[in-house]
Symmetry: C2
Subunit: 229 residues, 2 copies
DNA sequence: TCAAAAGTGTTTATAGTACACCCATGG
DNA sequence: CCATGGGTGTACTATAAACACTTTTGA
């Protein structure tokens, strides 16, 4: 007996991308203004449909690039949304992906002919369909991740100050962190290299710049740890 | 402009269920022998296709029940597999779910006219398609979960001994745990009720039975903690 | 000289880890 | 009376948390 696959229902499979960025102050999310019905003119996650001959990972990368110009981003899949009426036009299941990117590194790509725009999380507009739910879940995922893996490499410029890194953690975890405890914790992880340079823009005294020690950082990514902050 | 959804590719969407059970000794996985081509006669996860008018959660529940008789199980979705050739017959994306169940509670349901069988993780056969990969990922997910959430309620009988609970954690984490440290840790979580009864089957002295304090257990489920064992 | 951010350590509290002996009972 | 699993506590170590003052320098 060969099972009759042709008797099974086929559906549209979409991918929606939740792209987080950081501007040294707030955690931001990249959204686009829809230029087609339904919900034309409303804000939406970056999404599109899976094609027959690509994986979901490929689709996410392709769609992100098509709609925003951003490329070379590692995205992580996190949940499939399947409410029957989630898309009013036709039955569509959506698999969501999220990524962290450095806003500055991608500003040129995000040029004007794309309808994409960064929003602070606290000022994000209402989104179409179940996209707000996706965003909420992605934030929770990101917060959990920040506690068990080092994070920051993707969101900060190559060289950054301790205060920038701390602000990033504060933005993700949405809470104030004690400066001394933060520095002690980060130093104990042993993933930063302290440079000789100082950033002079933020104060008269200037603050030392750091960069990630790629090798040690990658090691830590492999093995879980727990940051309680 | 109304976007032409009809130009988009549709695909088959499958659900595969990774069902973990525990027999007081080993962590086990429920598999079925396929009774149709391709790969007829080989062992497989419990899977089937999503129908047009159900959510993925519904599909997982329906498929599990259809193929094994097991019902009333809460499953958690965890990953979508989309390699282009993962199913040789036709392009199929599969969303995997996992659940923990108490083997004893479901033995009657798992009657003979189903082709389902429990395998110890260490003795699980080679599975079809990418199902081994799904199983590996599910185990890692379960291990991570066991470290940040209380676990056991679903896998143990209503009344159980400390040793049973410890064996469960040892099976999931795949390591020996010190008895005293384990008891101290579990007691500090404050989710068990010690009963007056003893289980006399395991030793001459008998060992006290416990049950989960449903309310406190549910509270702990909400807020993450960290068990390092 | 002073405003503004950088930098720096210690103490206390909590949680994790390692470890070994006596107890109760049925056979 | 002894074999078997049940039950119990303490000392040590590591990590987390709370907390405040001095330094630098450009304006």
């Amino acid at each position: 007996m060969l099972k009759n696959y042709s008797a099974e229902d086929k559906v549209l499979l979409a991918v929606d991308c939740i792209i987080f960025g950081f501007d040294n102050e707030d955690l931001k999310i990249l959204l686009i203004k829809r230029d087609f019905e339904p919900e034309k003119g409303k804000w939406s996650l970056i999404g599109g449909f899976l094609k027959k001959n690509e994986t979901l990972d490929n689709a996410a990368t392709r769609i992100l690039h098509r709609l925003t110009g951003v490329h070379n981003i590692y995205m992580e899949q996190f949940y499939a949304y399947s409410e029957v009426d989630r898309d009013p036009v036709e039955r569509t299941i959506s698999v969501s992906y999220y990524a962290l990117i450095n806003i500055e590194n991608h500003n040129e790509e995000l040029s004007e002919h794309f309808n994409a725009k960064w929003f602070s999380l606290s000022k994000a507009p209402k989104l179409i369909f179940d996209h707000n739910e996706m965003l909420e879940k992605a934030i929770r995922r990101l917060q959990r991740k920040a506690r068990i893996k080092p994070i920051g490499f993707e969101l900060l410029p190559e060289k950054f100050t301790m205060l920038q890194l701390q602000k990033l953690y504060e933005a993700i975890l949405n809470k104030k962190i004690d400066k001394r405890n933060f520095i002690n914790k980060i130093n104990s992880l042993d993933i930063l290299i302290k440079l000789d340079e100082k950033d002079m823009t933020s104060s008269t005294k200037g603050s030392f710049l750091y960069k990630f020690d790629q090798e040690k950082y990658d090691d830590k990514l492999m093995s879980d740890f727990y940051i309680k902050l």
